[in-house]
């Protein structure tokens, strides 16, 4: 375009300078939010006098509650909750990274739309969201005694075993007896998992493998009959490296893993790593899934789903009531209607198909240490990106 020349650039430059304060001004992160105030007292099972009826009344005045959960069954929970208390639940299924993004953005911009999150990324929770006050941990005081202390902070409302499983049509007995077997060439390209890059809990699992060298060494010795020869510092990472090099196949969800592993009519079906709940569809979808019973040193890990209240949420009392409901009876859509999941509430009876109670399962699973997971997560992810993507 003719006639632009120097003056135009000066003009444009001046305009940009004008906009700078607007760019810079907004860029300051919101000042550290004060932790805990007013109506949402945090407490890990304190002995405050707890008036359930007052809570119900306050919640009913608020009228509705907005929830983001990693499970789509929040909709069923919501329907039951509404039937009991007349409070509408706007539940949406949403993955961890998106939930985290929304909560952080909403709290930072002081425009909080969500009340309760059902969240699986424990590392981010304990590492950032709770200490920096984005979410608040609230345990219903009357139910606290029914939960074991480790389940209270952060509050867990659901435990799911995420385990290795196989297709019982293809194999008469569990084909994997020991963790180290997963690295063997026979299983190259035949192990399906949910994409670690998109599943923080799976990364946490791998991170915790790396921090349990003694378990790994014992497992090695029990399987191969001789010491591994790898020193304690490196054995976890060496295991992970070999595992990732074994061409794991990633799927978008545990459901996809279950469907692919359990599909009928396969001669040599792959094995998979999925949440036990996927086996509830064995009849409906004609799947042949079975758990890798007896696998040493563990079958998988215990996947917790945490329930937390978002800071400055619009319906704090309804949020508390929803959490109270889920812990006391509302967990039914997950735990008693179908198999595969457990409530931390020690009074809750497990589903008959569950192959045991939660106490039984805890012996078979690795428990995730969130602090370790947070520290090592990036390294595990990078290891995965480096070795797991060799195609």
């Amino acid at each position: 375009m003719k006639g632009i020349g120097k003056k135009a650039y000066l003009f444009v430059g001046a305009l940009l300078l004008l906009t700078l304060p607007l760019i810079a001004g907004g860029k300051q992160e919101a000042p550290k939010p004060e932790t805990r105030k007013g109506e949402v007292p945090a407490g890990a099972g304190g002995q405050e006098s707890f008036d359930l009826n007052a809570l119900i009344q306050a919640a009913q005045k608020e009228g509705e509650v907005v929830a983001y959960f990693t499970s789509s069954r929040i909709k069923d929970v919501g329907t039951a909750f509404e039937k009991k208390y007349g409070i509408k639940v706007k539940g949406t299924k949403m993955g961890d990274p998106e939930q985290a993004e929304r909560v952080i953005r909403e709290v930072d911009s002081k425009n909080v739309l969500v009340d309760v999150i059902g969240f699986e990324d424990g590392a981010l929770l304990e590492g950032k969201l709770i200490p920096e006050g984005y979410v608040v941990n609230w345990v219903p005081p009357d139910l606290a005694p029914l939960l074991s202390p480790e389940d209270r902070n952060p509050l867990v409302f659901l435990w799911q075993p995420r385990i290795f499983g196989y297709n019982f049509e293809s194999y008469k007995a569990p084909p994997i007896k020991n963790l180290w077997q997963l690295n063997e060439p026979a299983w190259k390209g035949k192990i399906l998992i949910r994409d670690p890059a998109q599943t923080p809990a799976n990364l946490a699992f791998f991170a915790n493998i790396a921090t349990n060298p003694r378990l790994l060494e014992e497992a090695y010795r029990s399987y191969y009959g001789k010491p591994s020869g790898i020193n304690e510092k490196d054995i976890g990472w060496e295991f992970l490296k070999r595992l990732f090099q074994n061409e794991l196949i990633v799927m978008r969800s545990d459901e996809d893993v279950g469907d692919a592993v359990g599909a009928a009519g396969q001669k040599e079906a792959p094995i998979g790593f999925y949440t036990l709940t996927k086996q509830r569809d064995n009849k409906a979808k004609n799947l042949k899934l079975a758990t890798m019973k007896g696998m040493v040193p563990f079958m998988g890990y215990a996947l917790p789903t945490y329930a937390l209240i978002v800071k400055s949420c619009p319906h704090p009392n309804a949020a508390k009531l929803l959490i109270h409901y889920i812990l006391s009876e509302g967990h039914a859509p997950w735990t008693s209607r179908d198999m595969g999941a457990f409530s931390p509430n020690q009074k809750a009876a497990p589903h008959p198909d569950n192959e045991g109670t939660w106490t039984d399962w805890q012996k078979r699973l690795l428990r995730i240490d969130n602090k370790a997971a947070l520290k090592l997560r990036q390294e595990v992810l990078d290891l995965w990106l480096e070795y797991g993507h060799k195609k």
Partner: protein, 603 residues
């Protein structure tokens, strides 16, 4: 001699004249607004590549807000840079280059057939050829996946699988299908560009060469090909940049086998919670896109002299095909089938079958359109009753509608200012800045806007998760179209009517409302309807901005694909295509314009 007093009086006068001639003031306001809405986010994106975001600080241990080269190093130099960036980068170049290699000869061939030979039905063929470009680019990908899917991705079996053939991975996913689908979508672009060039090429040039004794080969080499160079270059650059910014197709066809291109790599980084790396990838995408389009604009100016050659009533003699007529027709028909009939037909067909590929009577059903409950898909209903689909339809219409209205008026305003203040810096600035969004690949523009508007800025609250953000970003994205048409329209309208009104004492608002807009309603309509249609099929722009509750039809398609709900995703695509066809046809009736070519024109 101008003293201080004179100057002040001048200013005061200008101020008093404002209601009658606020053109300059509005011009300044527009400049400031566009600077804020378009330039600032892109600058903020650049900043994001070196500042630590909260999500990143959790994983890398550097406090939020510090300046660092960490992300640049991680994306370009680290041991994971191969996976995060370089592989997607080279693959994108490879795919884009291959698409050009297929689409351009294809487009050129058909352009020649339609313009330069006596191919029967060439007018109809010409109209139909543009259809693949009108439907969303990922429509082909959805159709492909329905047919060629295998067990690498969960969910309902593909058509071929059900019929007993299991397609190998390299046919079902990855480079091959991506290249094929993109080529089928994008070749009409080359078709139109070459068509225009051929049409304006005077046959007399070739004929005089023949009279002088030149061989056919020499004529092609020394006259035709050089004259086609601009079309060739343009179609290459613009096709390349289109593939660069395309998100849907690589997402649907590549994610299952970890075949990532730049747009999907960007999306992955963002979704995984690495916004710093995502910003770096976005900047690279933007840089490449901007250079490609800038190159094109530069060459267009360079080559302008080529076009004027044919300016005086070019005569285009049509070559008789003779024996080649039948094969040519056949080829054309096959191409039309491949690009229109088969993809759309497949999509429609699958929506009526429980298991696509099983051609038995019991397998056909209306469930996925009318059903109130679908056994295989827990909690889902058929298209016309499905709350997710209906809500996304409402959102699409609402968002695209508001965006197109905003865009149309803004474009008209820009046109007004630019034409009424000729040769001023304001006009030049407006022209450039309103055109900028065209240079920025959609997904990069979305990333920039998301990070910029997600925090409150002065009086403007955070727009994160709001519909308004979608409306805003969409209207900015299509502003180039609208401002182009606004400028063109205003250029053709003289000053006189407005001046006459001013003399009669009409204020600016009155003049706009009673004179300018009524005279320009044609252009305004175009400036509104064209973005409306584009907005209904837009996906790359909105995929990063849509959230549950603000899903649009185009993002809802991806959700269904993620869950493996083939029939519902296909039904939604059919719905989108149907709406686009209806809108396009009505628009052509209303404005008498040939919309299809309007789409593929350079703006």
């Amino acid at each position: 001699m101008e003293g201080q007093g004179m100057r002040i009086r001048r200013l005061v006068n200008e101020f008093r004249l404002l209601p009658y001639d606020p053109t300059k003031a509005i011009g300044f306001l527009l400049c400031a607004a566009l600077a804020y809405l378009i330039l600032a986010p892109v600058l903020a994106l650049l900043l994001d590549t070196v500042r630590v975001n909260l999500r990143d600080s959790a994983t890398i241990g550097i406090p939020t807000g510090t300046f660092t080269t960490y992300f640049l190093r991680r994306t370009f130099l680290s041991r994971v840079s191969e996976v995060l960036f370089w592989k997607p980068f080279w693959r994108t170049l490879f795919v884009a280059g291959s698409v050009c290699g297929i689409a351009i000869p294809m487009g050129a061939l058909f352009a020649w057939l339609v313009v330069r030979t006596d191919l029967p039905g060439s007018k109809l063929v010409s109209r139909l050829m543009v259809v693949p470009y009108m439907i969303p680019s990922w429509t082909f990908a959805v159709a492909w996946i329905s047919v060629f899917k295998n067990r690498r991705i969960g969910g309902l079996a593909g058509m071929l699988e059900t019929m007993g053939f299991v397609p190998p991975d390299w046919i079902a996913y990855g480079a091959l299908p991506i290249i094929v689908c993109e080529s089928l979508h994008v070749y009409p672009f080359a078709f139109l560009l070459f068509g225009n060039a051929l049409r304006s090429m005077d046959s007399q040039l070739e004929e005089s060469a023949r009279v002088l004794g030149a061989s056919s080969f020499a004529i092609s080499r020394r006259i035709v090909l050089p004259l086609l160079k601009p079309a060739l270059l343009s179609s290459f650059l613009l096709t390349f940049s289109r593939v660069l910014g395309s998100f849907g197709t690589p997402y649907i066809l590549g994610s299952g086998v970890k075949y990532y291109l730049l747009p999907t790599a960007l999306y992955n980084s963002y979704k995984v919670g690495s916004p710093g790396v995502a910003a770096v990838i976005a900047c690279v995408t933007v840089l490449i896109g901007v250079s490609l389009v800038a190159l094109d604009m530069f060459f267009v100016r360079e080559y302008r002299r080529f076009i004027t050659l044919g300016g005086k009533g070019a005569m285009v003699r049509r070559r008789p095909l003779g024996a080649l007529t039948l094969p040519a027709l056949f080829l054309t028909l096959i191409s039309l089938c491949l690009t229109i009939l088969i993809p759309l037909g497949t999509l429609v067909l699958t929506t009526f079958m429980h298991r696509p590929g099983l051609f038995t009577v019991e397998n056909f059903t209306l469930d996925y359109w009318m059903g109130t409950s679908i056994p295989a898909m827990v909690g889902q209903k058929g298209f016309f009753f499905n709350p997710d689909i209906l809500r996304s339809l409402k959102n699409s219409v609402w968002i695209a509608g508001s965006a197109s209205l905003l865009c149309g008026f803004l474009g008209m305003l820009v046109g007004y200012i630019v034409v009424r203040l000729p040769k001023s810096r304001v006009a030049a600035y407006l022209r450039q800045v309103s055109f900028l969004p065209y240079l920025v690949p959609s997904i990069g523009f979305a990333a920039a806007s998301l990070s910029f508007f997600a925090v409150p800025r002065g009086p403007i609250p955070s727009l994160y998760g709001s519909m308004f953000l979608l409306v805003l970003v969409m209207s900015l994205k299509y502003l180039p179209f609208a401002s182009r048409s606004g400028i063109t329209a205003m250029t053709q309208m003289g000053n006189e009517p407005e001046e006459a009104a001013r003399v009669c004492g009409a204020g600016w608002l009155r003049r706009m409302g009673r004179i300018v807009l009524p005279l320009q309603k044609h252009a305004l309509l175009t400036g509104i309807l064209l973005p409306l249609i584009s907005g209904m099929k837009e996906q790359s722009l909105v995929i990063m901005l849509a959230t549950p509750g603000t899903e649009l039809m185009t993002t809802q398609v991806l959700r269904f694909i993620d869950y493996g709900y083939t029939q519902l995703s296909n039904a939604t695509v059919v719905g989108i295509v149907g709406i686009i066809f209806i809108l396009t046809l009505s628009m052509e009736r209303l404005t008498g314009a040939n919309l299809a070519s309007g789409f593929a024109s350079r703006g």
